[in-house]
C-alpha cells in the first residue's frame, strides 16, 4: 500500500459519507460522480484495468447523464422550472 492508495481510500470514504448528507440533490450527484472517479483510479491501481474503464465510463459518464436527466425531469435543476 502506497501513500497514494491511502489518500484515495480516504477520499472514497469521505465522498461516500458526504453523498447522502448533501442538502441539494445536484450536490449529491456530483459527489457521487467524484466517488466513481476515485473508484476507477483505485480499480486500475488494483490491477484490473477493464473494471477501471467500465467504472470510468459508466459511473462517471453514463450514470451522471442519467441522474442529470432525472433531475431535469423532476425540475430540480436551475432553469428547468415551468415559470
Amino acid at each position: 500500500m502506497t501513500v497514494l492508495e491511502y489518500i484515495l481510500l480516504a477520499g472514497l470514504l469521505v465522498t461516500a459519507i458526504a453523498a447522502p448528507l448533501c442538502k441539494r440533490l445536484l450536490n449529491t450527484v456530483i459527489v457521487y460522480l467524484a466517488f466513481s472517479v476515485i473508484m476507477a483510479v483505485l480499480w486500475s491501481l488494483l490491477q484490473s484495468p477493464d473494471l477501471a474503464i467500465t467504472e470510468a465510463a459508466v459511473g462517471a459518464g453514463i450514470s451522471g447523464i442519467l441522474f442529470f436527466l432525472t433531475l431535469k425531469k423532476i425540475h430540480e435543476l436551475k432553469g428547468t422550472k415551468d415559470e
Binding site: D50, T54, A57, I62, I65, L66, L69, K73
Partner: protein, 299 residues
C-alpha cells in the same frame, strides 16, 4: 360472484381491467361500504385533512433518520462480521487457491483461444453468467421503454410543446463549437470503442467496456447534432433490430459452443471476439436507449 353489477365473464372483466376502465376492486367490499350511511368518524374538512397529513409527514421525517441510521448500522455490522470471518488475505491455504484457478490460468488460451484469462473465463467458462447479464440489460431497456416511452395515450400538448421548443432551439441556434469538436472526436471515440471490443480477447477490455464507450460516442453525437440527426440513420426499428440481433447472436453462438461440447472453437471462428461484439452491441444500445428515453421518451 352473483352480486357483480355487470354479469361479465372473466375474460371480459380482465379486458376491461387491462384497458383501465375499472380498478380491480373487490365488488362485495364495495357494496358493504356503501351501506354505511353515517361515517364512523366525522369527516375532516380539507384544511384539517391537510394539517393532519402534514403532521403525519413531519412525524415520519422525525423517525426517518433514526431508522436509516439503524438500518445502515445493522448492514455495516453484518458486513464487518462477514469480513472478519473471512480467511486472511493472500494466504496459501485459502479456498480460492484451489485447482480451479490454476486450471483457468493454465489452460485458458488452449481451451478458449483467448489470451486474456478474464475474457476467456467470462465468455467461455462462465458464458451463461454473461448471457444472463446481457438479458438483464435488454430487459432493463425494455422496462424503461414501457415506463418512459411516449405514445398517443400518455402525451399531452404541454409535452409536445416543450419538445418542439427544444427542437427549434437546437435547429435555429446550434452550438458550432460543440459540433466542430464533436466532429473531430467522434471518429476516434468509435475507433477506440472498436479497438476495445475487438481486442477484448488479448488485452483488458471487452464487450462491456467497449459497448459503453460506443454508447457514449452515440450520446455525444446526439447531444451535439440533435436527436433528428441521429434518428435519421439510427431509427427505432434499426435500434430494436440491432439490440435483438446482439442478444440472439450471443445466444446462438453460445448455444452452438455448448452443443459442440464446449471444447473451444478457435480453429473455426474467433469465438470470443464475436461474442464480445454481440455483448458490445447490446450494451451500446442499452446506454444509448437509456439516454434517449430519459431525454425525450422515444428512440
Amino acid at each position: 360472484m352473483s352480486n357483480t353489477p355487470e354479469n361479465k365473464t372473466l375474460t371480459e372483466r380482465l379486458v376491461s381491467w387491462v384497458n383501465g376502465e375499472r380498478e380491480p376492486k373487490d365488488q362485495t367490499l364495495f357494496v358493504m361500504e356503501k351501506r354505511h350511511r353515517q361515517p364512523r368518524r366525522p369527516q375532516p374538512s380539507d384544511e384539517e385533512h391537510e394539517e393532519q397529513e402534514r403532521h403525519r409527514f413531519r412525524r415520519f421525517l422525525r423517525g426517518f433518520p433514526v431508522a436509516a441510521v439503524m438500518i445502515c448500522g445493522v448492514l455495516v455490522a453484518v458486513l464487518v462480521w462477514a469480513v472478519m470471518t473471512m480467511p486472511a488475505f493472500g494466504e496459501a491455504g485459502n479456498p480460492i487457491n484451489n485447482e480451479v484457478a490454476e486450471h483457468y490460468l493454465e489452460y485458458t488460451e488452449e481451451e478458449t483461444g483467448a489470451t486474456n484469462a478474464v475474457t476467456g473465463m467470462i465468455l467461455s467458462y462462465r458464458g451463461f453468467d454473461t448471457l444472463g447479464e446481457s438479458c438483464v440489460l435488454f430487459l432493463a431497456v425494455s422496462c424503461v421503454m414501457l415506463l418512459l416511452g411516449r405514445d398517443a395515450h400518455n402525451t399531452d400538448e404541454h409535452d409536445l410543446l416543450k419538445i418542439g421548443q427544444e427542437d427549434t432551439i437546437e435547429k435555429q441556434a446550434p452550438d458550432r463549437i460543440l459540433q466542430q469538436v464533436a466532429r473531430t472526436l467522434i471518429p476516434f471515440i468509435f475507433l477506440f470503442a472498436l479497438y476495445v471490443l475487438i481486442n477484448g480477447e488479448v488485452s483488458p477490455g471487452g464487450g462491456f467496456s467497449g459497448g459503453t464507450i460506443l454508447g457514449c460516442g452515440l450520446i455525444l453525437y446526439t447531444v451535439s447534432y440533435g436527436h433528428a440527426a441521429t434518428s435519421r440513420w439510427f431509427s427505432a426499428a434499426i435500434y430494436a433490430a440491432v439490440r435483438t440481433f446482439g442478444l440472439l447472436l450471443y445466444a446462438g453462438l453460445y448455444g452452438y459452443y455448448i452443443f459442440m461440447g464446449a471444447n473451444g472453437l478457435e480453429s473455426t471462428v474467433h469465438f470470443s471476439m464475436a461474442i464480445d461484439l454481440a455483448v458490445g452491441l447490446v450494451v451500446a444500445c442499452t446506454v444509448y436507449g437509456f439516454y434517449t428515453l430519459f431525454q425525450r421518451g422515444e428512440i
